[in-house]
Subunit: 287 residues, 6 copies
């Protein structure tokens, strides 16, 4: 690969202009939820990976939590298993849990790890079982047992901290471990939010396939305080699929994370754009 | 759980008798290849896990490399895919490679990790992609391309060393990563042997489902020198499936590993028995 | 030394059964008062040493405080000096103090150190003079000066902490140092108790030649709370020679030591038995 | 300061394109000679400072050596002192040496330090006296004593290494110290070259006010080997003021510095352009 | 240099007599304001330097803050510029500020550094610009702008702490840096006092050319409490040029510095005499 | 304790004159053999202790090895045991060995430790048993077994290095430990010499009760090379009790110790005088 002089001049000019923006987050931890929809093709993954490796290079400590719903669904289909959902949660019998764990921990996780390493990072993949990272227990939906769906009981961040200290980028699949060593399917937004809280992260970024929180006119709302978010929930502006995401964001901010962001992961460089603009992109919730 | 006085006395007596055996390996690294046949039921895995956690507790640094052939085979069958083998190597098209990676990295790896953690260890699972651990390239079998079957090009042990230094037990699935980030199916014995060499391990233990190397009368041979092993290969005593295992052992010993052991993994506590008897169990090859 | 397969199997089975018991004290400090009566022959000392080295090997930090009354007495006799006791305290003129210091610091201390090293430990002997460990002043018995008998003024644990951090086992002779550098004869139980308090030890174990605290029917009392101990003192159940030992134990527990134990040092492996049974052996006082 | 979305997108795109170029020098030391002509106005200094701070931020260790000839000249003039040069060297009597030291160490050095800190760096200024960095002795020009002009005897890099390790950017004024503590005026190119050698730097960059080494047709020569440079000296292509600079570059490269660069310091971002283009700008001499 | 036996005996005797005095300040930080009057000739500077290097050698951490008024004045005169003072403060236009910075940071600072290094120390010179050490803003005198005279806003002691940890002696010229990177002329006593407070120094020593604080009879007052000093200010005993020095001393003591000392810098070894006599020399103010 | 101004001035002047002499040994290890004759009264011990603590304070690492022959002899007498010597070696039966160990390790060692601590040092006493420091075996004198007299097999300096690193002064009684944990009586000069070699000390100082090596006219010889010493042995100038001391000195120098010194320990401050005079006192042997 070569760069001509004109391009190099642009790079140099742009880099030095961005300097104050890069500098202000050096040494900070950022937890990024990277959704299954934003990893649909190799180019999208490569672009995301470049952003994350760049963050690491300029001294930020990114921690990636990924989902993988679409990939799980299509493998279950391949096996001839029907997916069933209750309140948006996948009913997870034992065979389904095996597929979840295989797909998240074995395939999706390593695809993200490998993409980061291809860009020069040193990523290490983890599930909640590794180092006892995410301890979970069965989550009942309105008292109903829907199998190995779990809620987080506690997080032991030592393995994440140790990898960060060694210059590695932790990439986490949202699988929890029960008291008998059994696996639990955990919501990736929830896992990212709790992790951000335990790590006292500077930012929680939830990459979605929406533009952010919209007002009743369809305009993106940004710079919301905790109180404003609560009003928007009360008056029904925030509803549906956005509601649980917003709850994760609020919980994180209420637990000491400086700010939470709902960002459109379909936009190229969305993670960096968030860092390099003052109000950011998408919806920001301030602590 | 409670222990009565008589049992406690036995424990105390046995422990102190074993003291010189425990002590002599403190601070040493041991690479253990844990085969798919030795993880057939939960009790076998739990027993193996207790042995490994105990090793860690008394100051030994165990590194586990596991296989998973049987588990891969049965999942492929479940998907209606036929397994094909050439020279004992599984022909590995892309879909098969996905299953290999999912099963080894997502299910088998985490089952071992979780079993170790249930016994009080702090295990972290890795594939060759994590931290760029195992770099591989396509392995041609007599010039024939059989898909994503790989040979090891190089090993970057930093992630293993860093985890060891933090008190974690590394558990490694033998998946390699190619120069474009693609996955390769690696023989687990080979991976264990190379890793032992790079880590300058004290011992390489290959857990198998045989008693060790047998002489022509079917008696286990033990305490072999490199020269003796080579004669036994030449005169055909060592042949068939044992041959590649022995090659891994020889390579390791020739690269500075103190000794390599072919052990019957079906025996309870085989790993500890190896440590606590002078000649060990199974076949030992000295460097 | 060799171990046959059957023994090795027992060792392996026993070790793994004991694993949860070994694990729970890893990283904790335990102060053990090792009395002169429990070091009567070389086998007893060797057995005690094996127990302590094993504790160190599995990650516990033992600190040994030893006595030496019988040895002092017989050397004084050898010199033709009569021993005199007031309220159970040896009247300690200057020549006697020299013998105490020689015997405790020079002979008994080094015998314990050497026994530990013979079992593969790395022990270092100290008296209260080394590193200014135990600062003492004259103890008057009912206003009477009985020579160089001292009470502890303060403990400077830096030398103990530094040796522990280097992997050494500290072995301490209960000699204190006065403000002019002079030696004081200190009660070993008291020294062990204070040291346990300053080190914020997990356990204080006082090895005695009784079974523990007995109730009026001669049955060993165990699992006592501080309040219960005080009642037993008040109603005279605890009296005589047991009284000062119990006071040391109470003081330690009241200063933050998790539990104190009065154990029969004549029983083989008494120290390990204490760790490997739930209620322990002898009398336990909980904090 | 704010950045709009379009600019942020450019920044993000450019940054990620530059990633492989940024990454390859992480952890490397670069010594940059920053000449008096390139610091003529505050904007030039600020631009240079941004480049250096950016280098530090992405993990490169820049070490700046500055000149200050013009500033010295004008202050001497202000004092009514005539400057005299022999073989291009300033005749340096004691009063002149005071002015050199005041100007370089007190004004120019701190201007560079302050400019770096304004851009978010943590720079620390040094002269060769600080930490005994540059030991020098009188340099005779054809046997003639021209005052306090010095040649470097030895370099003690400890203060530079210590500051680097603490995250500081060392900024060095080329004043040497003699055996009686007296100051010597040192050529800045020479100081930069020797420092690069002692620090085993990746690159030595000499910022000049020429385009680089020109061939007889006035075209910039780049990618020269040591042998090629020597031929160009022999045939007179390299001559005049370029000759001593080239000698510094050659000495550095012959002492283990990977490459030396003669760069036009008048070009904005010249330092970064050097990093972000494959052949670099100006003249490169390879080791 | 050689020492005869008789001298060596004196040295040995004196050293060991001084031992308790040397010992009691080991590991403590002392901030010494070294005035321009006490550096009038090379012998005085060399003597001061020996005292400071000796302090460092015996484990004390000296931090030197120097002035340079006389040197600045004479250079301004040399340039034909008239010095003007308002309320004892030098009116500092831009050209004057340049001279202040050149003289303090370039000449005086390096003379002190060099003198310390000649005695075997490893000194590093700093101004308030280096490492962002002293942040300052314009000081108005009764609402009047007298140019670049500054008051301290904040001190970032990291560069001082880092140099101390590396075994270097920090030597500080009292130049502050404003928010735009501009230089400010800071009173050296004030800088020393604030630095002592931020570093939580054991002692602040202000070297002056008086004997200390005198009572109305002209006798040196020593061992003053904060309250006594305030009475002496109220009744006019302390007045004139001593007043601002005393204010620095009081501020330091009120901010946690253990004691402040007004010492006659003209006396040889005044700094050591302060350490080696119980009441010290000059005036001591206790915290 | 107080010091008047005149004394303080002397201290300050003397200290600063001695500065270059103090400085040149900072960070160096010195092994000092402190003989039983030089500890005859408390004042001599206190004076020696002050010298050693001063060395430590100014950055030298002293290691003290002491003897104790006279003390052992008088205690044996007190016990009614006759001392017997063969070739200058004490015949050491088991009871005698107990007395040696008690006296050296328990009384003499702790007297030296306590004296050092009284002067503000932090000394820790060791025998060759502690940390397995001195491993020994039986020494036969012309084939004759004279009991527990030992020769050094190996030295494990880890405990000494660890204590030094913690700021402690190691004080060593010359008792070795055999392979069964038994004690051996070791010659103190030999122990000091070997220790100096293993620690790669700067100096070995043997304190004796002679002036040094005398020539045939009774004049002290100084500054000897290894060759000169060998000639002096050959021609009989060095003979008798000096011979084994000289052998220790030669062995040390031949093993990398920079210089060895035979010094008159009866002279006050002899250790410091050795440091503060150029040729030292007594006899110096250069490596």
């Amino acid at each position: 690969m070569t760069i001509d002089l004109a391009s190099a001049q642009t790079i140099a000019r742009v880099l030095t202009e961005a300097l104050p923006y890069i500098r202000r987050f050096a040494g900070k931890t950022m937890v990024i939820k990277y959704g299954g929809n934003a990893m649909k093709d190799d180019d999208m993954i490569a672009s995301f990976a470049r952003d994350i490796v760049l963050m690491k290079l300029v001294g930020i400590n990114p921690v990636v939590v990924h989902g993988g719903g679409p990939q799980i669904g299509s493998h279950l289909e391949r096996l001839g298993k029907k997916s069933e959902f209750i309140e948006g949660m996948r009913v997870t019998d034992e065979e389904t849990m095996d597929v979840v764990e295989m797909m998240l921990g074995g395939l999706v996780n390593k695809a993200v790890v490998s993409a980061l390493n291809q860009q020069g990072g040193r990523a290490v993949g983890l599930t909640g079982k590794d180092g006892g990272l995410i301890r979970a227990r069965k989550l009942l939906i309105k008292g109903q047992d829907i199998g190995q769906v779990g809620e987080i009981q506690s997080i032991d961040p030592r393995v994440v901290n140790h990898l960060e200290a060694g210059g590695f980028i932790p990439v986490i699949a949202p699988v929890g471990v029960g008291e008998h060593g059994e696996a639990f399917n955990i919501n990736a937004d929830v896992a990212a939010g709790k992790l951000a809280a335990v790590l006292q992260a500077e930012k929680l970024m939830l990459l979605t396939n929406t533009q952010g929180v919209l007002d009743k006119q369809g305009k993106v709302l940004t710079g919301l305080s905790v109180q404003q978010v609560e009003s928007l929930i009360d008056d029904g502006t925030i509803h549906g699929g956005m509601l649980p995401k917003i709850r994760c964001a609020l919980d994180a901010v209420n637990s000491g994370v400086k700010s939470a962001h709902i960002i459109d992961g379909r936009i190229t460089h969305s993670v960096l754009l968030e860092l390099f603009t003052d109000e950011g992109i998408g919806t920001l919730i301030r602590g």
